[in-house]
Symmetry: C2
Subunit: 349 residues, 2 copies
């Protein structure tokens, strides 16, 4: 008999399984064991490309908190790196990229994705070997729009103005870049699935800065294409879409046949999300990482509101954005215990 | 016979008057005449507190573009300055404030608002004298939440984390600060109205970073209180609320009896905004400032979409956020001509 993975059950639409629980950026700087390994690992991309270290980092939060899912430790910018655009990380400043030549980016080469990212696929295999059967392994990529914002500007930018401006000024060229990233994302996710991930999540962190029709072109249409291609090749793998900062987009996401899960962000209205998505998609979210950091009443109220809002539907407990480095471990332990107790009390699992 | 002001007519719910047109930050750095005056004026706050210069700056865009409304040239941070918290502006870095002592901010004194901000009220009187009768003068303040984010952190911050964290950690104290700012905003707006503004707008630029229930406490409840107090004292003055980054909040704003207008931001869905607000509130927005900067097809499509979406309802054409300093004057001229031609063709005015 196959052991059930609560994360996969929830993504199959079950609302009576144990409420699965994981946290965005759960392998990260709030963990002392991560900081220790990080300090020894050299630069950040080398850590992403070291299967033994990346697998260890991926497993750390599972050992400590018994989360229901591990998420591959990597970065969304390994894709431009694999395409041939130079990427590096400056401590305290975030990612830097050699800015794209907007007049000629024909050098970007999707032919190198599989070979360049082979170490990531190797990480997936190693994590799988270290995970119990009831735990899911989540693979991921950045959505084309979000990755493009960094490729265009060479760094994170306020409201993603450089990429949005280029998209207005030369829609054809920008559309070619999005197409390249859509194709690259499909290849990359397929590689992760073939290496063993159980679920994939597509992160569109900067969807919220786009005007409505731009969001349709640069976020929703690529999400439809990627999820379609993944589903055709791997119909058994559930897909979670996470478009941050654009709550109304859930109405459109509810209609995308090839995704099973919708990640909702910190600022999203719980009633609206449930009314829009419940019965159609599995909802994942949305505790404010600052409430987790603060603890106390704010944390209790935040957890209660989410469990009351989503507890009776197909649901995955998560944060609404990545966990913050300053978060006390004890607050995470408290969160886990509280969600587990609620699940046991209301679902018997 | 009184000359009609299209902005006021639109805020009274009229959908057959000339479509009123103004732009957030219309008095600003994209204008050569502003940059010239700015260079001569000394520091930014001195400019805000100089009635002759501030009035001149307020009127510059009306002379150049014949907009339907002038908006008082000032800054949302004159309120903390008037309350006794030191505020200054560093060129290229934005505002700086002596960070608030979270354990003791009893020194903040609403008793000084009227005297400290007397030069702003004087600016209002001067602008009124220089405006034709068909032009409206808009007064404004920052909403308590948005102003508080700067007061707590001492500067602009990523996703307003310091203020959000404090609100979680010490809700009572934060609530006291919001109450002070609510009271200060009421006094300040009343002063502007008594000096002659025709309409007031309350800017909550950072509403979008808050979780749903926090937004209710820190944005919507203060907006209800401020608009109630203003309406009681000045029932004839229309009020526009602008909560940026939280499109679902329009459902709540549609129910606030004391506001007439709802500003909608760049990322907002046009159909949703119309369905939620039309017939209840006058809609104001929402061209992407980057589309105005880009010009060409992006600008045409952006204007067309807005006019088609809102042209038949009570509506004020505006940007979805402030105009950017790099915006070509010719693009603004094009925008004005296009909106005027549409209004003439569809409304005969």
């Amino acid at each position: 008999m196959t052991v059930k993975k609560p994360l996969v059950q929830a993504l199959q639409g079950k609302s009576d399984c144990q409420i699965p629980l994981w946290m965005m950026r759960q392998a990260g700087r709030y963990l002392p064991e991560y900081k220790k390994l990080r300090a020894e690992a050299g630069d950040f991309l080398s850590l992403c490309y070291s299967p033994s270290l990346a697998a260890e980092v991926t497993l750390q939060p599972i050992r400590r908190f018994d989360f229901d899912a591990a998420i591959l430790f990597s970065d969304i910018l390994v894709v431009p790196d694999a395409l041939g655009q130079r990427v590096w990380f400056v401590t305290g400043e975030g990612p830097k990229l050699e800015p794209l030549d907007q007049n000629d980016f024909s050098g970007l080469d999707i032919g190198k994705i599989n070979s360049h990212l082979a170490p990531v696929f190797e990480t997936v295999s190693r994590v799988k070997d270290g995970l119990e059967d009831n735990k899911a392994l989540i693979g991921f990529c950045g959505a084309p729009w979000t990755v493009a914002t960094y490729m265009v500007a060479g760094e994170g930018t306020k409201e993603q103005a450089p990429a949005r401006l280029w998209a207005y000024q030369d829609e054809q060229a920008f559309s070619r870049l999005i197409d390249i990233l859509t194709e690259a994302s499909i290849i990359y996710l397929k590689g992760q699935i073939e290496a063993g991930v159980d679920v994939v999540q597509i992160f569109d962190s900067w969807a919220g800065s786009l005007a409505e029709n731009e969001r349709e072109k640069w976020c929703l249409e690529p999400l439809r294409k990627i999820s379609r291609a993944i589903k055709e090749a791997h119909p058994e793998i559930p897909i979670i879409g996470f478009l941050r900062g654009a709550p109304l987009v859930y109405q459109e996401m509810a209609k995308i046949a090839d995704i099973e899960g919708v990640g909702i962000d910190t600022a999203s209205d719980i009633d609206f999300a449930r009314e829009t998505l419940s019965g159609k998609k599995t909802i994942q979210g949305n505790l404010d990482p600052l409430a987790l950091l603060a603890g106390g009443d704010a944390l209790d109220e935040g957890i209660d509101r989410i469990l009351e809002g989503f507890g009776e539907t197909a649901f995955i407990f998560n944060l609404g954005h990545g966990i913050l480095p300053e978060t006390p471990i004890a607050h995470v332990e408290y969160l886990v215990a509280k969600v587990r107790a609620y699940s046991k009390a209301t679902r018997g699992a």
